[in-house]
């Protein structure tokens, strides 16, 4: 009873969201130290990354096991643009996002040919190609040492925080706008039943490619921002772990919901930080959490997530 009531308050009350918004906006003022702000910045960026994966997988039903391609790809693109062409970080981040959007568009085409498990396998292979390039062309990409010695967005944590928060707010707003629009209904129908969507007159492949591009663009911007904040990048950003991490964030928070991925991203970011000293065990702990969530609460940990049986499980 009380739990059900609490759930409704959390879901419907604007006050709850205003409080949450207030907490986020005031982070630089109440944060006990810079490290704490840093966690929140990374949280914001991971949340954007998670939302991009969720748009593709949770709403459109196109499984990607290789989203690190866009996140890491955006990071490398932006950093190289800054280092070699001296393009200012904000513009470089924007251009990197655009490049990832175009890659998403191009990679979307081979993805139209495959479904389900095969699509997962194909997308899983994308970042591996990129890692190959990074390792082979060491002169430019720096091999496993990565790249450093490029400009950051700003040396102020406060500015970095607000910039990342605005990015997150924009992407959340975009997600909500898409989900509640005609496009939202169309992509959900593709997720639920592709053949039926086709027969009610939806140009399925066009929308799939469009969402691939948009998801790639958003992930690319998040990755590029992340790179300019950390001021050094390594091929780990392209690694399988990164692709898995975003999946874990979204599943923990709730696949196919708007706030779920954000919640999941912050949970993982905080765990990441507090498990820093046992980093060897980190992935194992996430894996156990993932299994537990899938087993006990497949709709995600957000209290107002609807039960999964009314969602697509195809």
């Amino acid at each position: 009873m009380i739990l059900a009531k609490l759930r409704l308050i959390l879901r419907d009350s604007p006050i709850f969201f205003l409080i949450l918004l207030g907490v986020f906006i005031s982070v630089p003022f109440w944060a006990p130290n810079l490290w704490f702000i840093r966690i929140f910045i990374i949280g914001n960026l991971f949340a954007v990354f998670a939302l991009s994966w969720n748009l593709l997988v949770g709403y459109t039903g196109q499984i990607s096991f290789g989203h690190a391609f866009f996140f890491g790809g955006g990071a490398y693109a932006s950093v190289l643009l800054n280092k070699y062409l001296a393009i200012s970080p904000p513009l470089a981040i924007f251009l990197a996002g655009l490049m990832c959007g175009i890659s998403g568009f191009l990679l979307g085409y081979p993805c139209l040919r495959v479904r389900g498990v095969y699509l997962a396998l194909m997308t899983w292979a994308f970042p591996l190609i990129f890692i190959g390039i990074v390792m082979y062309y060491g002169g430019v990409f720096g091999r496993e040492m990565g790249i450093s010695g490029y400009q950051g967005l700003s040396s102020s944590y406060t500015i970095n925080y607000y910039a990342s928060f605005v990015l997150l707010a924009l992407v959340m707003f975009l997600t909500i706008a898409i989900v509640n629009s005609r496009l939202g209904l169309i992509i959900r129908s593709i997720r639920d039943n592709e053949i039926l969507a086709e027969s009610v007159g939806i140009h399925v492949s066009r929308y799939k490619v469009m969402i691939f591009a948009l998801s790639g663009l958003i992930a690319g911007v998040a990755g590029a921002f992340y790179a300019h904040f950390l001021k050094s990048i390594t091929p780990e950003l392209l690694a399988v772990d990164m692709s898995i991490l975003v999946i874990i964030m979204v599943i923990i928070g709730g696949l196919g919901s708007t706030f779920g991925p954000v919640f999941g991203a912050f949970m993982v970011t905080f765990l990441n930080n507090y498990l820093l000293y046992i980093s060897e065990l980190r992935m194992m702990i996430y894996a156990l959490v993932l299994i537990a969530v899938l087993f006990l609460r497949p709709q995600g940990l957000l209290p107002w997530s609807p039960p999964i049986r009314f969602r697509s499980v195809k």
Binding site: L185, R188, N193, S199, V200, G201, S312
Partner: protein
């Protein structure tokens, strides 16, 4: 004499060595209800799949309202004014009944006035009480009606129904028959696949019989049930003629 709405000429499809549809030709006139019958595996659903572009044609030509639609793609059928339903009920499980129908209104009108069109289609099949429910919460008979509501939402001129009565009770069939007659009254032309002639007799203007991919007979339902060839296809040769 009215012009044919749909003209099918020499439609053929083979699956490897099996000729699933073999030079089938027929015409559908505007406002008609055509029954498409035949034993299991006769090629009825394959004809639908060929007409709507879900399968590519090996041979033949399809003309709809004077336009050649032989090479049509499935998503283009709705904007042409053709819609097909599936043998098994199909739905979008993660969307409400309202959303399930609404998404079908986008194809033709480009989403204009889609809420009104959605409401109207839902009311026509009598599902207005279930608007906010999910397909998984509806009984089978209601899912069949949801299929029809979705079909109506596309504003079709030609509706291809694939076994609309399968798995329904006698009273549900009666209700659905009324809905189908209602559709005809609204000027929609229908081609209905059914196994069982009895269901079709009540409303079909003409019946086409397929057997092993070939057109076996065509005509008024009364005449079709007396046709020796049709009886043979369904029941086997008569004992006294066989000798």
């Amino acid at each position: 004499m009215t012009m044919a709405l749909l003209e099918v000429k020499d439609l053929s499809k083979r699956f490897g060595g099996l000729v699933a549809v073999d030079k089938v030709s027929f015409e559908v006139k505007s406002g008609e209800i055509i029954g498409l019958i035949g034993p299991n595996g006769a090629g009825k659903t394959t004809v639908f799949n060929l007409l709507t572009g879900f399968l590519s044609k090996d041979q033949g030509q399809v003309i709809f309202q004077g336009n050649d639609i032989t090479k049509i793609k499935p998503y283009q059928t709705v904007s042409m004014g053709i819609f097909r339903t599936f043998q098994l009920t199909a739905s979008f499980p993660g969307m409400t009944v309202f959303e399930n129908v609404k998404v079908a209104t986008f194809g033709k009108t480009g989403g204009l006035d889609s809420d009104r069109k959605t409401k109207e289609s839902i009311e026509l099949v009598g599902l207005q009480e279930c608007e906010t429910l999910f397909p998984g919460q509806l009984p089978h008979g209601y899912l069949k009606r949801l299929d029809l509501a979705r079909a109506l939402a596309t504003s079709p001129e030609l509706l291809l129904l694939d076994e609309p009565f399968s798995g329904l009770s006698v009273s549900e069939i009666k209700g659905l028959t009324n809905v189908i007659k209602n559709l005809q009254a609204r000027g929609i032309t229908l081609v209905v696949i059914e196994h069982v002639l009895r269901e079709l007799m009540g409303f079909a203007n003409r019946v086409i019989v397929l057997n092993f991919g070939k057109k076996l007979a065509e005509g008024h339902p009364e005449a079709i049930v007396r046709d020796e060839k049709v009886i043979e296809a369904y029941l086997g040769k008569r004992w006294d003629n066989a000798a």
